[in-house]
Symmetry: D2
Subunit: 346 residues, 4 copies
């Protein structure tokens, strides 16, 4: 259940409500979400108790929510969540495109990409400075140096930075240099970590675990929301299956299903979601037609020398070509993809 | 490897080639595919032997094919396969829509649907007379009576019939009453059965097994092709995963991947591929944008009373609405969906 | 629900019961199982109707069964099913060992194996004459010739034959030459086929589909039982997973789980269930300790030249060694494995 | 490849070796493992370079290792790893039993269990103070208070403490109160975290991720080993599958397979590995017969009131019964399970 508190009601004024919940042995979370205080809890209270709650000062409504996640559900918040990141809307009618390399490899690499994005009319750059790698012998990312490179490149070319935070020990660093913090597939189940991300004031892009059920994914979002961070983006990136023809199987049904269950924006990563360059375009087009709110695309000036994920990275020209192909697809399902391209303006 | 025989070369004339293969212990299949005799085999022959083969009378070419399937591969046949079924092209630029109930339940039901399809400008009807059901206590289909119903309805409304054959014992029946024979997911691995379907002169729509790797699926197609039946349609219908949020996970990457590996047309079943009515539209749109050649859609005049698959069947009006939504999506990726609708003409 | 008819009650005498069920729109199956007539159906009847049924002549009991499968359930038949095949008990305290090659390759091969089994005190031989192979270019089995070879070898060395039937078109052949008919993993979902196996009077060993849920597997057994064949052996052979380290993941929990849900004997195939020779012994030992009723083991006089499944086949001496290792494991969990070995008697 | 340095060779003395590797662009890890300095790296060096290395002062051997993990492999370390924890051997001939509640719930609960373990002759207690829970509304563990309870209970009853560390922020706490630190399934892919565990001087029990391939699991162990912590225990706890009959499918083949690939001890958790109390005994017996080195068992004085994992927890008496059943199984495969039981001594 969720208790909505009236807008503007003093924070300290809800103590009688929380005391009441404690008296009835109810484990609850208070958060400040979407303009009001809200209190979420799982317990089913009796109609009489609900009525008592409803009559308390400051209580606007008590809403039963049938799903295990409360704040992430459409039952509670019926309108889609959208917000702005340095002037660019996410979750609105405009499709968001985030592109960049798997890993930041050098100043030159990231500046080349940033300039290309800028000319292609793209507003968001991605790139990992801390990379979760299966082998300790693989390139683990440039760390702080990489963060500085991507920030500088983004600032020069009017881009917003999306980058992964892999542990709380580097949270401060990543926070300082990024605009959206990405939680990777492997960390989606790391609840201690998610709780801390609920306390920050920057959006979190939460990738689906490669073996996470939809409900588990939304519960991970709930961990962030219960902390009070209302700007969560969900990102489908493919699930692990029995078939090694593709690196991951992109679960296209997750797009509409999650949008029906939750108010949060749903992005798709067709690069991770296949692992094969030649599949990125058709999968991206499919994801847009299925209604996704944004895309994450891996690109590289020279994929064959990439330190990670080369086989699934697009060449820069392929990427520009892709965005031009996606515009009419977006339009065919009532979405917009405006590319104020500067690439041919020169 | 594949040996292509010159067009028009007498069938009996290739005995020296097959004798040569036998002499070199090579297990081969001869088929008449796409206008010529072809001989497929898996063994890697030495360059010298290949040269000998190449010089034999009637031999047009000897083509190395790196995939386990030979006749199904793009390496052998680079152009896409297309063919006509009673005047309607499959595998061409026009998107094929096949719709109908999961199971034929009564004469009235199938005639209602057939008339609706006709008015919506659809050319193919589907419906099962023999149903593979997990439980022996579930409705198993009307059998021969059902086949007669769907044939009559199709003939009255200028439709082509697609229906499933579940065992060789009913092959003759199904053959007599249908235009395209469907092989269900559960029979994709039934190789004895597939061999027999290679001998018939009607197209086969081969659904992907719910746990079949792409290579296994294409090898199943190969069983049909080696029998000499060149008109195979592949149909992705969702794979089984760890997540019960959806009945099956539609593998959207299978569309472009199979189209790159094989020349055969690739269809998608978004009804089976999700099991949830509200997901059919976005998944269908996604499949079209990803480049599929056709769609199989389950519809029912009254899904709540359907004897099987009700929850994933569209209402008739929903279906018409869907096709109208799909036309611009098809156009946005350079495909066509012409609906010579008669529904508003009345 | 299941209606038990009194032992010895005339078959024709239950018409009033079936007429009553028809009058109440109940789809039912009548079978002759374990010494009495039984009628199974899925519908939940009201207490009043159940009472009416209970009072009908010949009705012994009406038993509610909560599982989708009825005749296969422990709720209906509480004692474990056991039966004899030419004097050897299956499903009793004695562990059953079935061994032999994946495919029958020659008269010599199968006689060598049969003699070895005989000397090792083994009573059952396996070997495929019709092989379901993923590729049409792979060895498909010797067919009828192979059946004759294994029958002769078995007869000479006092063995019982277990062999796979892959299609109804070869059922008569396989029936004539075998003592237990095996249904392969790929045919477990082939319901039309299973119904026919319900009509024969030889035991059926039903392998679990490589992607079958436990309930689906038991429903497949139900198809055979509803046909009236009460001697069904269930065989776990590994399920398909995301990890290609092993060919299949043997689901050890299936052994006790199925034994709790069903009265049917549960066998295990550690050869298919791993695909790696060096894992066969520990997995076999694990399966025995977990309580399985029998094992299927692939062996070959010369695995490196085997036409199929060589990497998972044991050498003959390895097999004998394995059985000697298994005897104390069986004993440690209260089971018996008596090997009246003749191998050292020479 | 792995370079072994002579025992006793000064730590500072290997700089010429590492300088050589750097000069040849090789990313390496130096560790102190099993009594000597070792240097691991992935790159394949030419025979000439290997020869140069071999001749350097202090270099004992240069060993090619074909697996992606080096220090975890049997190719490098052929003898099984064993070590003592406060006098009790792990990885030796004696089977290790670790038992306790899923979560520490109260002082009374954990003391009751500890006393019972002591009387049953068990030497290791488990119990979570920090619990990774899918829902933020579920009990998250007692934290530091719980750690103190389990430490006191263990000290009173001569037990060693195994408890989970879920984040680096609580590592110091968990380190101070435990003897073996457990890494849960969800953290197996958390490489940043694993690196830190490589720096501590207590053993780490590394659970397999619920969707981790064997190679990925061993690479996670490699992260700990490259940090210099040589005491890693691998624990199979079931993988996620398509079948919800069980919570997880215990991968029994992982036991022998990992033991063949790696020298590290392999434990099994039959409680998590099924999620069903009635399956714990047969699966535990199966795991022992398949050769596991130890078991983790969830027990609770009153499972029906447990705050987590009640359905899979054994009653205390069931647990004692289980250990008595396991002793002969262990013996049947040449292992020992000595239970210096004090339970009937009273």
């Amino acid at each position: 259940m969720i208790i909505s508190i009236e807008k503007g009601f003093p924070e300290a004024g809800i103590e009688h409500v929380t005391a009441f919940l404690q008296a009835h042995n109810t484990h609850y979370h208070v958060a400040n979400l979407y303009g009001r205080q809200v209190i979420g809890f799982e317990k089913e209270l009796s109609p009489a108790l609900v009525e008592e709650l409803r009559l308390m000062p400051g209580v606007e409504d008590v809403i039963p929510v049938s799903t295990p996640y409360k704040f992430a559900s459409r039952e509670w918040k019926t309108e889609k969540t959208s917000f702005h990141v340095k002037g660019e809307e996410i979750g609105g009618n405009e499709l968001t495109i985030i592109a960049g390399p798997c890993a930041i490899e050098s100043e030159e690499q990231i500046f080349t990409i940033a300039e290309h994005l800028h000319r292609s009319g793209i507003k968001f750059i991605r790139g990992g400075a801390y990379k979760p790698r299966t082998s300790p012998y693989s390139f683990q990312g440039l760390g702080l140096e990489g963060l500085k490179f991507i920030r500088q490149a983004a600032d020069e070319f009017d881009l917003r930075v999306v980058t992964e935070v892999i542990d709380l020990n580097v949270l401060d660093q990543v926070y300082n240099y990024s605009d959206i913090l990405q939680v990777g597939s492997r960390n989606m189940h790391n609840y201690y970590f998610l709780k801390e991300l609920g306390k920050i004031d920057k959006p979190v892009l939460l990738k689906r675990g490669m073996y996470a059920k939809i409900t588990e994914w939304l519960l991970s979002a709930e961990y962030i929301l219960t902390g009070g961070n209302e700007r969560v983006i969900l990102c489908e990136r493919g699930i692990r299956s029995f078939d090694d023809s593709v690196r991951n199987v992109l679960d296209i049904s997750a797009i509409p299903l999650v949008q029906q269950l939750s108010h949060l924006p749903v992005f798709v990563d067709p690069s991770q979601g296949s692992g094969i360059r030649s599949l990125v375009n058709p999968i991206a087009a499919g994801a847009v037609a299925a209604g996704c709110d944004g895309l994450l695309i891996e690109i590289h000036p020279n994929p064959s020398t990439a330190l990670s994920d080369g086989p699934q990275s697009l060449y820069l020209e392929q990427f520009t070509h892709l965005t031009q192909k996606l515009a009419p697809v977006a339009m065919s399902v009532g979405r917009n993809l405006s590319l104020k391209t500067k690439i041919f303006a020169k």
